[in-house]
């Protein structure tokens, strides 16, 4: 029987990055195709310009463990160390 804890672990193991990547790639394909068909070139360019880095970063995030958070980075750049 799948107990409560097992289910939680299952969810933990669920590779949600993969889910996000697939989901947004799908949306991206559908919408980019639509924009291409409607000849909205400028919109299409912005769309891909924003979406593709996001997808790349999702993959990057999935492969990294213990990524530095944005707040930590900012602290680092501004020369302020957390207490």
């Amino acid at each position: 029987m799948l107990s409560f804890q097992n289910r939680q672990e299952l969810v933990n193991e669920l590779e949600y990055h993969y889910f996000i990547f697939v989901l947004f790639s799908f949306f991206g394909l559908v919408e980019a195709r639509q924009l291409y068909r409607q000849k909205q070139r400028k919109e299409l360019a912005f769309y891909l310009f924003l979406l593709l880095p996001g997808l790349v970063f999702t993959v990057y995030m999935a492969t990294q463990v213990g990524l530095l958070s944005i707040a930590e980075r900012l602290d680092f750049w501004l020369g302020r160390m957390p207490q």
Binding site: V11, Y16, G28, F57, T58, S69, A71
Partner: protein
């Protein structure tokens, strides 16, 4: 572009949901200790002039929202740059609220589920709502509002046996610095965040309506915050209020009605998610509109998907733990938000007044003619 019309009531509801959104779950105004009620009142009083400025700007240029006003009075290039900044502010605010709720769900209910899962779901929902348009967000707000009021009233009722006025004593005891500092924080979060609304709504024919809407939302929302933080403080006391990341949750945990109704905090904060979701989707909507304007596009919905992905990534990487979140909220946010909440609106107001004066005749009369014609 299709104009999305909201009614007076809808905007007030949205304002209330926006103000209460993430405020009720987070520890706000900790510096004021037992005088938190004074800090909230002071913050509301401080916000009133700012809100009047926001309303005035919108009233000066009817049928236009902040983005269009910027473009009109600052010129295309500067205006779009300012719009980009505002959009970035909305984007960041959205990520912060997403992160707040992600952390909240993670810490209180399901420590073993990855933080990102509730965040990505909320983000997708906000994305969907934005694609459907402002009207959908407003109507959802109309549905959530009565539920929230109902739940809040019951929670307050059940909390009354646990209220301990002793914890609010002594009042106003040599703590003016703390009160002012808390009030400043409360000013920047959540009250002056209503600057986001300027990107969404626009003044219709009646020029006075904007002021009324803004004030009504601010006062009712402020009253709810006042009631909630004061009662939370009275239930758990200043020490525990400061020590915990989610004080309201702790306070609601103490509810126990006849040994039967207990541990209802999950249900109560489920309903808080309605308000949080409204805030997230409004910020996300504003960000989409802002970016699309800054990029010189007419439509905004096409930006929802890529921005949604970036929003999620931004929120997920913003902080690694709740401690960072709390520190950032207390130390950095005030300064980060200041230009958007105070400086830029003031500049815009002055420029707007000057430009409108420069036009012939009284602007009010002009506008009435236009609206009737």
């Amino acid at each position: 572009m299709r104009r999305e019309l909201l009614s007076f009531k809808q905007i007030v509801y949205l304002l209330i949901l926006f103000i209460t959104g993430s405020t009720i779950i987070l520890p706000v105004g900790t510096e004021a200790k037992q005088d938190i009620w004074a800090a909230v009142i002071l913050a509301i009083v401080m916000t009133v002039p700012m809100v009047l400025v926001y309303a005035r700007i919108l009233s000066l240029f009817p049928e236009r929202n902040l983005l269009e006003i910027n473009e009109q009075i600052l010129g295309k290039i500067v205006g779009r740059f300012i719009n980009f900044m505002f959009a970035f502010y909305a984007f960041t605010l959205c990520a912060l609220v997403l992160d707040n709720f992600g952390q909240f769900i993670n810490v209180t209910a399901m420590p073993e589920t990855p933080l990102a899962i509730p965040m990505v779901i909320l983000c997708l929902l906000a994305l969907w709502a934005t694609k459907e348009g402002l009207e959908v967000i407003a109507r959802s707000g109309e549905i959530y509002f009565p539920i929230i009021v109902f739940a809040a009233a019951f929670t307050f009722l059940f909390l009354t046996p646990n209220l301990n006025i002793q914890r609010l004593q002594p009042p106003l005891h040599q703590n003016s610095e703390g009160i002012v500092s808390a009030a400043l924080h409360l000013f920047s979060f959540p009250f002056a965040e209503t600057v986001i609304f300027m990107m969404i709504i626009y003044s219709s024919k009646k020029t006075k309506a904007m002021t009324k809407v803004y004030l009504a939302g601010l006062v009712i929302g402020g009253a709810i915050i006042l009631l909630s933080v004061t009662s939370v403080m009275a239930v758990i006391g200043p020490e525990r209020y400061q020590a915990t990341y989610f004080p309201a949750y702790l306070a609601v945990q103490t509810i126990n009605v006849g040994d039967f109704l207990q541990r209802v905090e999950v249900v109560v904060f489920l309903i808080a998610i309605f308000a949080g979701f409204t805030k997230i989707s409004l910020c996300f909507y504003a960000a989409c509109k802002g970016f699309s304007n800054a990029l010189g596009c007419k439509e905004y919905p096409f930006l929802a998907v890529p921005l949604g992905l970036l929003e999620f990534l931004f929120a997920a990487n913003l902080f690694n733990n709740t401690k960072q979140m709390a520190r950032w909220a207390s130390e950095v946010y005030l300064y980060f938000a200041f230009p958007f909440q105070v400086a830029l609106p003031l500049i815009l107001w002055i420029v707007g007044e000057v430009k409108q004066r420069g036009r012939q005749g009284s602007p009010e009369v002009d506008l009435h003619d236009e609206s009737q014609g």
